[in-house]
Symmetry: C2
Subunit: 397 residues, 2 copies
């Protein structure tokens, strides 16, 4: 049999990160390339207690088919929580529980994009969502990320010229991979531009609760009086990514299409895990849990900071982060970034080459991404020391 594929998937490749994960699976390799929450961040005891009680008292609720929109009690709790805490959600909005926030991006793309339509993205941006948009044959237009978020002049230029732009995809808090947080001023400006050019916004906020420094900045969705923004939230970084529970909050007409698409994708999200998320939010001190997480990441980032200052400075530079899981590191001019990453693997340290996160991977890039949440403190220090030795060896040549 000669296999032929749809045009949309013809050029799709497994993500570059996945290839790197193959090396990272070697137990001798120190992986600074993942994006996993710290193992100590999982509320294991609470999940165990909830699950046991649930399977004892209401097993059929956890095991039977459920509705596509999501577990009603979880939808209500999240709707109230996001409104009260973050001013996210208006009367014209609805909330859909998704199988990870990734699925919200997929459903948004499927509902809005015709082949050849444009998604305006941050450059660099989260490769998982870029590939999702690519899988619907969208064209990606990347807007450079500065230390306070997207370059707004470039964004406006893109909105003026890209007549097929359908939405702007942004991760405003502790962006993956750059670690950058968009300023309040830029958030307002982005919203104004989207409104003026009548382009939707897809706001992805998986890391927002992991702020361990600096000041809270409101979500773009909190300004949304016009129904422009679909907001993506997730339990992956604050409860468990293995459960695959995320959600989308957005204008009802958009959500209705997303719900029909979800019905055809996976019918509904694992209901057992949805109930666990609901009970964690309502029967446990969820705020205290989030504070514990922030403390874990604050400490872990301090370990990374110290190691980087000791081993990477002044040759490799980076912006300090205020939360999230990633630090974006820049190599000196003249150093071959892909070669640096390959040599790091030979020395048993994995980082992700920065061009993997670009809308056009062939563009020159001097950066790589470090994740500090997954490795142990000891691995972190050792891994950074190896990278420091590597850059010194390269510069000596």
């Amino acid at each position: 049999m000669e296999y032929t594929f749809s045009d949309r998937v013809m050029t799709l490749k497994p993500s570059a990160i996945r290839e790197i994960f193959k090396y990272a699976a070697d137990p001798e390799v120190i992986s600074l390339s993942a994006g996993n929450p710290a193992p100590e961040a999982f509320p294991v005891e609470a999940i165990r207690a909830i699950s046991e009680k649930l399977l004892r008292e209401n097993p059929i609720d956890a095991l039977q088919y459920s509705v596509t929109e999501g577990y009603p009690a979880l939808r209500q709790t999240l709707t109230d929580y996001m409104k009260t805490r973050h001013n996210v959600g208006r009367d014209f909005d609805d909330l859909l529980v998704t199988s990870g926030a990734q699925q919200a991006a997929d459903l948004m793309a499927k509902s809005l994009l015709n082949e050849g339509d444009v998604v305006i993205c941050e450059a660099p941006s989260f490769i998982g969502c870029l590939n999702t948009f690519r899988s619907y044959n969208a064209r990606l237009v990347g807007i450079p990320v500065e230390s306070d978020g997207m370059n707004m002049q470039e964004l406006e230029k893109a909105l003026q010229t890209e007549k097929r732009a359908r939405f702007i995809y942004t991760i405003p808090n502790f962006q993956n991979p750059s670690g950058v947080t968009m300023s309040l001023e830029k958030r307002r400006r982005l919203y104004e531009l989207a409104k003026r050019y009548q382009v939707m916004i897809l706001e992805d906020n998986p890391y927002g609760d992991l702020r361990f420094a600096g000041e809270y900045v409101p979500a773009i969705k909190s300004f949304d009086e016009d129904g422009l923004v679909v907001y993506m939230g997730s339990f992956s970084k604050v409860v468990s990514p293995g459960m695959r529970v995320g959600y989308a909050i957005g204008p009802k007409p958009i959500l209705q299409k997303m719900i029909v698409c979800k019905q055809g994708e996976d019918v509904h999200t694992n209901i057992w895990s949805q109930i666990i998320c609901h009970r964690l939010m309502t029967e446990y001190d969820f705020d205290a849990h989030l504070e514990t997480l922030r403390e874990i990441y604050r400490k872990k980032y301090a370990v990374l900071q110290k190691a980087m200052q000791e081993h990477l400075a002044p040759y490799i530079t980076w912006d300090e982060i205020e939360g999230g899981l990633f630090v974006w590191c820049r190599l000196p001019d003249g150093v071959d970034m892909p070669d640096f990453c390959r040599q790091a693997v030979l020395r048993k340290v994995c980082v992700v080459p920065g061009n993997a996160f670009l809308t056009d991977e062939s563009q020159p890039c001097q950066a790589f991404r470090i994740n500090y949440s997954t490795p142990t403190d000891e691995q972190l220090v050792r891994g950074v020391a190896i990278l420091g030795q590597l850059i010194r060896d390269i510069l000596k040549k």
Copy 2:
């Protein structure tokens, strides 16, 4: 904001069944319209024991990110099981764990179908998958289902004329909604035709393990020496649909594209539930569990049979089933089927109008679908009695 949508979702509507479910949610209504496993069919004790042990001994395995292909141990176990028991899977095949079998259909459609491509389906067929194919703007061509499966003359005619046919979608065992099992002869013929016309087959087998009468018939995939067939399996009917664990077995090049698409859809399937399915298969007597299920459905179907013979015969006719969850009932000529279903709802019994399962819902249809697995025995008898009274009242007028 004026919302516009992609062409592919413009005409998508929530399924007719979903609308019926709204009535069925009324506790006074007897729902014969669902497709849920019998509540007593869930292996609750085993799931509880496995889950407790897992969260005590290996919580991070159950809660952390996992790989897109699926839990390696489950993939290996399923590969061996399907090869040994059903001769399904060759060296050229791979196995992907999906979020319910529904996702396998979605990934197949996404990987293979350009807009306007044709999927050849049974008429009637499972509405969930028909809507998935529609959501990629595929054109559906329905082949009438006879008491031993698709009409093969019609299938060949369609293969001759539909040059854009990409795959044939079939549920060979206890088809949803018709209850029909395709004969061995027709399975072989279908495979030959697919091979001759170089069209793939998507074989959906969610009910195969629920055979309570008649003789086992081998899967179409068991003949597949040419890499023509993608086989869809599911834990939804034999363990728990709420967990959303299914799988696809098919030629590696197809599966590779499906894996990349899945990465963009939901990254991976809930890993906790995957581990539970694996341990159920390996640490428990899975065969004995399946035998228990067959016994539950054998008994429940006997209750339905008796009630139908008493109340529906001879006005309403049906083919006896050998397994699965559904019975397809035909009204006498001249009775308005949609009106019958509406009147049944007024009398507090829900069934699904047969045209909901057609590739063209506007075609005339005298059938409706009864599900017997979800209601209690008492509800079943009462519901069928009400339908019997209704048909008598209609015929008297």
